[in-house]
């Protein structure tokens, strides 16, 4: 192995790749333009929709209640909802989104409620329709307040202290600093993005530097040079890692800049509803995620090199690499599921472990034991992949497969 030779090969592959349109698109254009546009765009769209949903005064129907003016009045008085006249097809109207919810009162509600025998009040809504869901919550809050007030007045009438209804007070207090709240929500997505990008960034160069060379007939040319095959494959490997990391770095910085620019808008949109909301990320967390991505990027680069080295043509390499995309996306998605947590077993699963520890890092936690375990295990997997790529490159049956 000669560092000088690896460097010569690396520099040439770098120049060569930077002149390849496909590599440039996957390395620069997609991460710089597409990802921020997608994520910021979706964020803005989501926030706007949420605001619209919350700004609307939903139409609610009361079914029954002709004999119970007291509760009907309490509902009508509330300005968060708008009561519309009763019709028989109220369920269809909810389905058709003409009204958002309906309150079904049992007959003789007011009178029965005074005896605490009123039975059940139903709130009809449409699950899956966010506006209907929000309305259901609002209506339920109104009815709950009404029930408490009614209970208080009944107890007062009987001369019992209303304090019995609330033996203690309840309040909540958030101790997480704003950037860590961000870590659990949006921030938890960042490691996932970076992993996907580290993979896609390595994809095209890996195929181009191996199967592409075979297809163009330059493989035989390069094998006539005195540089050892190990040096050749390592030079190529470093080029692929460079592309992988460059893609991830560029995407992260470009996403960061876009979010900073869009921050005020998103903040304004979201904090209208929730004044405690602050949109922010911990830069140290992002940096830590990056360090954890390093061995993963090496693993991606080396295994894609090995796989596409086996292919005879670019096209064949693509058929091998495409299924690998699912292999990468799947563990990353599993990690986003609630309940999947970091433990000694998940810490040994490549990709999954990095997404999980990335989530923790973004939330400002540093489980050092797991960090060491994951970094070490990822390094082991990465070295196995490099070993496989080097071994394959030294086998003439692979290089001259026909």
């Amino acid at each position: 192995m000669s560092l000088r030779n690896i460097g010569v090969v690396y520099r040439k592959e770098l120049v060569d790749s930077l002149r390849d349109r496909r590599t440039v698109i996957s390395m620069f254009v997609i991460p710089i333009l597409l990802f921020p546009a997608l994520s910021v765009g979706l964020g803005l769209l989501g926030a706007t929709m949420m605001n619209q949903a919350k700004a609307e005064i939903p139409r609610v129907m009361i079914i029954g209640g002709q004999d119970s003016p007291r509760i009907v009045e309490a509902l009508k008085k509330n300005d968060k909802i708008q009561i519309v006249p009763e019709t028989a097809d109220f369920e269809t109207q909810i389905t058709d989104r003409k009204i958002r919810a309906a309150v079904v009162l049992p007959p003789g509600f007011d009178a029965a409620a005074n005896r605490a025998e009123a039975g059940k009040v139903l709130v009809d809504y449409y699950e899956g329709d966010i506006k209907s869901e929000l309305t259901e919550k609002t209506v339920r809050d109104i009815l709950r307040d009404y029930r408490l007030d009614l209970a208080k007045s009944l107890l007062t009438a009987k001369g019992v202290s209303t304090g019995l209804l609330q033996p203690f007070d309840l309040d909540e207090n958030n101790v997480a600093p704003p950037e860590k709240v961000g870590g659990s929500g949006f921030g938890g997505m960042i490691p996932y993005f970076v992993i996907i990008l580290a993979f896609t960034g390595a994809m095209y160069p890996a195929m181009d530097l191996t199967a592409g060379e075979k297809e163009r007939g330059t493989m035989e040319t390069i094998l006539t040079s005195p540089v050892s095959r190990t040096d050749l494959v390592l030079g190529k490997f470093f080029m692929v890692v460079t592309a992988s990391l460059a893609t991830a770095v560029l995407a992260l910085s470009s996403m960061g800049i876009s979010f900073m620019l869009a921050k005020n808008t998103i903040d304004r949109l979201l904090s209208k509803n929730d004044p405690s909301f602050h949109f922010s990320l911990d830069p140290r967390g992002v940096l830590a995620v990056f360090v954890m991505i390093l061995p993963l990027s090496v693993l991606f680069s080396a295994s894609m090199l090995a796989v596409s080295l086996f292919a005879k043509s670019y096209r064949e390499a693509q058929t091998y690499i495409s299924p690998m995309t699912f292999v990468v996306i799947l563990p990353a998605i599993i990690a986003l599921l609630p309940g999947v947590e970091l433990n000694t077993r998940t810490a040994l699963v490549p990709i999954l472990s990095t997404t999980l520890v990335g989530k923790e890092l973004m939330a400002g936690n540093h489980p050092w034991g797991f960090i060491a375990l994951i970094f070490a295990s990822s390094c082991v997997y990465a070295s196995i992949a490099i070993g496989a790529a080097v071994t394959l490159f030294n086998r003439e049956s692979v290089l001259f497969r026909s």
């Binding site: 060569d16 163009r216 040319t221």
Partner: protein, 246 residues
């Protein structure tokens, strides 16, 4: 100097194909200042033999000494002293002519002044300066060929290996290659080349080996072959040699 000693190559059986004995214990030699021609039909074992000499493939058994080094024990030393040219050895399309030749110079351990001198000399000698900064993918076939020649010569190898270098070339380009092969001999290099074109072998080779089915059936100067077979035309000699065997 090239000296092949019972050189064999067997491609193991795969699911689809049977075991193939591409080269069967062949021995021959070629001295500096000499052109040795491997004459054979397609599939005779020419390319496999030359690839083994250039250490792109490893022999199954036997060995060869090329420029004083053993192809099995010191393949990297062998490659450092061999220039290998074939129609299969393509150029990197996205590099310019100059970048490509420099790259191969660097792979041969050259740097700085020595590299520049060698590259500049080659570009002048081959009249390539008009397209030195043009990308290889944009070059004509003739220009590409010159770049390939410069690529094989950048490290001034003692031994030149040409694998069917004129296949697919037009008359002028093929003549240029033939001229280049002669120049290599004049500069005292050891030259081996393979072809299935009789006229090419007649014109260029000092000695000819007729290869068929992985075996060298006949060997000698053109005059020796003519005397042995009592025929003038190399094609007739070739058919007789091959026909006797099969």
């Amino acid at each position: 100097m090239i000296e092949a000693l019972k050189l064999s190559k067997v491609f193991p059986a795969t699911k689809k194909t049977k075991e193939v004995r591409a080269v069967n214990a062949i021995s021959f030699y070629c001295q500096p200042g000499e052109i040795y021609g491997l004459l054979g039909a397609n599939g005779a074992g020419k390319t496999t033999t030359l690839r083994m000499l250039a250490t792109i493939l490893e022999p199954t058994s036997g060995t060869a000494k090329v420029a004083g080094y053993d192809i099995v024990d010191q393949p990297e030393k062998v490659r450092a002293n061999v220039g290998f040219l074939s129609t299969a050895t393509a150029l990197y399309g996205r590099l310019t002519a100059k970048e490509l030749v420099e790259y191969f110079g660097r792979l041969h351990g050259m740097d700085g002044e020595a590299l520049h001198k060698s590259v500049d000399g080659l570009f002048a000698a081959l009249d390539m300066n008009s397209f030195r900064d043009r990308r290889c993918e944009k070059l004509s076939t003739g220009m590409k060929q010159k770049v390939s020649i410069a690529r094989t010569l950048v490290h001034d190898p003692q031994v030149m290996v040409f694998d069917e270098p004129t296949v697919g070339l037009d008359v002028m380009a093929a003549r240029a290659i033939a001229q280049f092969i002669r120049e290599c001999r004049e500069r005292g290099k050891t030259v081996i080349f393979s072809t299935h074109v009789m006229s090419e072998a007649t014109k260029l080779c000092d000695r000819i080996g007729i290869i068929h089915g992985g075996n060298i059936l006949e060997e000698g100067t053109l005059e020796e072959l003519r005397a042995r077979h009592g025929k003038q035309d190399l094609e007739d000699i070739f058919v007789e040699a091959v026909g006797e065997e099969s």
